[in-house]
Symmetry: C2
Subunit: 331 residues, 2 copies
């Protein structure tokens, strides 16, 4: 477990300053206090604001999402949530709810039995049994990348797909690309449907043609690449936008094996900005989902639901990270 | 100015309890404290948390929006914002910025000169000069019903138009309506465009036809009614959704003068749920924008921008308020 000294070393401040921040002393700036509390959460320091009465328990429910290691997608989302919730006085449990558990107990009963005031729910898809319950559940829940209509107890947080695709397509248009394709993993989730729709909308907004045949999807990445990439290349496409970075990376490798140079012959854009993007060959241009901030916005949304402010949708701004997988269109 | 006794009387609690809540005493429940602080703000009590150092100044900038009287649209939005911000320790100024002022000083300079940390901006349209500046401004701003792309310092809050129109159209569909029209005020604003688009999307989702000719808009309500209502009635439309309640009320009156009974011959739905809706003849079915909650969500969004959580869009759940202007379709 991290000590006060460890936190002080990391931030280059004195032990006394860390101690003051942890105990909420008034003679320390709000910004510094926030930074120390966030670092304490990140480093696993356990005694934040010991003097403060707990506000109660929240839980982060992880479905099909990896989060235990720093390079995994869910790690920073969970960290960002905890960095807001724990200094505010909440206890946060991280629990997994597989489909078996979801079939055996209803969401509201599960929350009540465990004394959870609200949940932040990651990695659920249409096939999770609780997804149907969320239409009428009573306990506040914030869903990452899933949208439920007309229940005032449920909010959706995510990155703005429309803004992200608009940034990607207008970037490609500036580089002279006119024929742009789209590769996606399975469309059996809210967010993959939303991204594909946003892709076509962005083409339209930029005055570019987008026939349904310029998009392809499949459950497995290899299947998606094998099935759709040759077709897109035959159609004379000069740039490909992908539903996420792993698809983009697989597409780059396959194109290079087929003799295409990236970005001279073909530009490729991913989505997410996972850590590998800076290290692919070439480094991948992508739309960033800031995962720490996603976690923090999950906390804001849950806090507002708890206060009966019925947030339905909270979208973070998307950002385009320009690296070397996109370049000027040939011709 | 309201006294501690006034607040105690309104809530039916003792003066001592009010005093404890105002001074942040720990032996009072969070819910009760919140309720007392919100009532204190609403009643104009001035000395909230005297012992607490001010966190700084925020401003609410009102463009073309009426807010000074309780029945006016902006009143509750501003109250909701203040009910969150003032107990948290902020001073809140309400300022108006007409187009003359906006031409003479830039938004960022205005904010800096007045020591404002962030703004909640109501009633701006495309013609306001600052709208262009918001693409690159540096001072956090939350815009009610206006969306700016790709600036991490700007967020949009509003009620979910898609959800609202979906609730309205599926309600009409359940009542047997198939031919549905739409009347709107001027489309020269983000939100009026969004609502009209949401109307057509909801028709599509419900498997109903929606040709462009079944919608009509105009700057003045009377003009809109005169120009488009007879045409919609000639088309055999049995229900009309309106962009807001005042259009709906004008449409009801005109239809009744033409001999149509509401809802026996024609169903009408508004948007907003302003106070008159319960008192029109018949009382108006409408999509509610909860204005107190909109104000509170404006505060949440601004607070998160200040903490560098780059919220772009925050939408409250819409709610359908069923009254008597909608009924079963004839035939």
């Amino acid at each position: 477990m991290a000590t006060i000294q460890d936190i002080a070393n990391r931030l280059g401040v004195s032990k006394g300053t860390v101690s003051k921040a942890l105990n909420g002393a008034p003679d320390i700036s709000e910004t510094l206090q926030k930074s120390i509390l966030e670092t304490a959460v990140e480093m696993g320091y356990k005694k934040i604001r010991r003097q403060k009465t707990s506000l109660g328990k929240l839980c982060i429910i992880t479905g099909n999402l990896e989060y235990k290691e720093p390079h995994q997608f869910g790690y920073d989302i969970i960290l960002g949530f905890r960095q807001m919730a724990e200094p505010a006085g909440y206890e946060v449990d991280i629990v997994s709810a597989d489909q078996e558990l979801q079939k055996n107990i209803s969401y509201d009963v599960y929350m009540l039995r465990n004394n959870y005031l609200g949940a932040f729910i990651l990695g659920f898809s249409f096939s999770d049994p609780w997804m149907k319950e969320f239409s009428s559940s009573k306990t506040p829940a914030v869903l990452y990348d899933n949208y439920i209509t007309a229940n005032l107890n449920i909010a959706y947080v995510g990155v703005d797909s429309n803004e992200g695709m608009e940034l990607a397509i207008s970037h490609l248009k500036k580089l002279g690309h006119k024929k742009i394709g789209y590769l996606s993993s399975s469309l059996a989730s809210h967010i993959m449907l939303a991204r594909q729709k946003a892709f076509f909308q962005a083409l339209k907004q930029n005055g570019l043609k987008g026939e349904p045949s310029c998009a392809g999807s499949a459950f497995y990445i290899t299947e998606c690449i094998e099935k759709h990439l040759p077709r897109l290349l035959d159609m004379g496409i000069t740039a490909i936008v992908c539903s996420h970075d792993l698809v983009a990376n697989a597409a780059m490798i396959q194109c290079q094996q087929l003799g295409y140079r990236i970005p001279e012959d073909l530009s490729i854009i991913g989505f997410d900005d996972i850590p590998i993007c800076a290290h692919t060959s070439p480094p991948l241009t992508t739309v960033r989902q800031d995962r720490i901030q996603l976690g923090k916005s999950g906390y804001y949304a849950l806090e507002s639901l708890k206060n009966r402010v019925p947030i339905g949708t909270l979208l973070l701004h998307a950002q385009l990270i320009e690296r070397n997988s996109t370049g000027r269109c040939r011709e």
